[in-house]
Symmetry: C2
Subunit: 339 residues, 2 copies
Amino acid sequence: MHPIPTIKDVALAAGVSIGTASKALNGQGQLRDETRRRVRAVAEELGYQPNDLAQSLHRKRTFMVGLISTDNYGRFSMPLLEGIEHALGTAELSVFLCNAADDSERERRHVASLLSKRVDGIIVTANRTDPRPPLDLLGSRVPVLYALARVPDDSALCLVPDDAQGARLAAEHLVGLGRRRIAHVTGPRDYEVVGLRQEAVREVLVAAGLAFPERRVLSGPWRATWGRAAAERLLSTDPDIDAVFCGSDEIALGLTGALRERGVRVPDDIAVVGFDNWEIIAEATVPPLTSVDMRLRDLGHEAATALLGLIDGERRQGVHRLPCDLVVRASSGAAGGAS
Amino acid sequence: MHPIPTIKDVALAAGVSIGTASKALNGQGQLRDETRRRVRAVAEELGYQPNDLAQSLHRKRTFMVGLISTDNYGRFSMPLLEGIEHALGTAELSVFLCNAADDSERERRHVASLLSKRVDGIIVTANRTDPRPPLDLLGSRVPVLYALARVPDDSALCLVPDDAQGARLAAEHLVGLGRRRIAHVTGPRDYEVVGLRQEAVREVLVAAGLAFPERRVLSGPWRATWGRAAAERLLSTDPDIDAVFCGSDEIALGLTGALRERGVRVPDDIAVVGFDNWEIIAEATVPPLTSVDMRLRDLGHEAATALLGLIDGERRQGVHRLPCDLVVRASSGAAGGAS
DNA sequence: TTGTAGGCGTTATCAA
DNA sequence: TTGATAACGCCTACAA
């Protein structure tokens, strides 16, 4: 039994023709019950596994999709992957992993390979939602969906977190807790989300009749060290702030640590809210960090489901922004937040 | 051009037979140069992409491999994935992602699916190196390789980091810097690596004529909060220690933060070394953390390469332990470590 | 130098 | 109720 048994072997062993064996195994056509059972028994015994390649050749679907990621499996990819893989897995689709690592040449090669394999669709993921060039489909018409990524093309379907809404959640949370002088320590200005979130915060504060002067928006790298530096700066230039909304949990971790070392009590003196809800970081923070959750796993799930829709001929397009959650822990000083 | 062009379309458009077109495209057989060129030109123009499924059907290789991960894309998966995908990508192999999430039923289904697709091989990854049940191949003979995972089966090929050697690096580093009273704050005892590392540390200390009493080995969860708790415990029960080797960077982060808040200077009073070299964490630590690097990306690369070997008929087996690195930063107080 | 025919493993149509 | 036969898209002897 060295060679993998084919349907031919099954047919032979069961004493029927190939066609009959096929019907028996797929429950097609009219067969005597006994025949069907016999064929199936033989197949079982031989450990017969239908050859997907041959099947795909015949149907017009392969039940395979490509997943092209343009970042190096960063922190965001994982929950996204999980959601995608979960949704597709339940639909019995298989996923091809392709890491293009921002190299457009590799991306082309991956696309070519996927097309050769006749995947039913492609999902493109990135680690930032700023527009990227559309995937070059090499003339093909495969359905494509962008998750946590955006392209300038209006006919494309893109799923991204609703950063503005997430920021609003955070700001409203702090305002609702009575904080009046809120600072925003965020990432580099050339990230679209930095602008979106900042505007959202401003709207909330203005609506609450609170000030939000320029000096309370501090922009720097997405790192813990920047959080520390920002803490120093805030304490020296704007010592009366009572809350900080950070653009990432890393920043919040650094900031919180620096505040504590300076004797500032969190959340009593200054409440802190992060963004990303990266559990490891949020729970390593002291006290544990209230943070905005982009629900990337759900986004991945949604993306996969939407791709299935596209494959089935739906025509959705445009940029869809999925709502974020706020996960409340102790750092913001909300009642019961002592997680 | 709605339907994807096949070689038949190319042949037709080029005015040759299918066989001739095939030869022209693959550089087989004897053809007039002009014919070859013409066929290729037509193919190019039509955007012809050979159908991999059809090709795979009669070569005996699909150039696809399955990647089964049994953890939920944890932190270790990322570099591992990267290494694997990179190595296989350069070899023009495609990777099927399968997250079994420790559910043996899902694992079976994934294996069945992979076998149906006639993958050339399978890589199994986990997040801990304790023995797991061997993959049930459903009777098939596909080459399998375990990366960052181990099975009790001696004929299997498993690649894991050399935790003992890594721990030795850390211990020797500290001893070399003159530290004499070294504690080890590590993970749960039921992890194999916890025992391996602890033994390695002991050997190094004993060889250096240093004591390593039981009370200096503190075991708990792999989390920052445990690091904090351990710091308290050490300061109260064993206040004269001058170095701590932590079982993970998370633990080290928590421990270091707690030490600083207690007024202990790191590294002057107590040097700290972590394990994992998780950059985000190591650099969020104050001061930046010296840490053992398991070189997972290399391990992934190695794994993929080894799998290619198995596919080509090599017969490697057994557990191979790949050496770790020590990445020196400021927390251990080594000269020049002020990264 | 090129075309034909058979096969890779399956499914579906149509006779028998 | 079952068995040929023709695809699916491609490759490779072998024949012309």
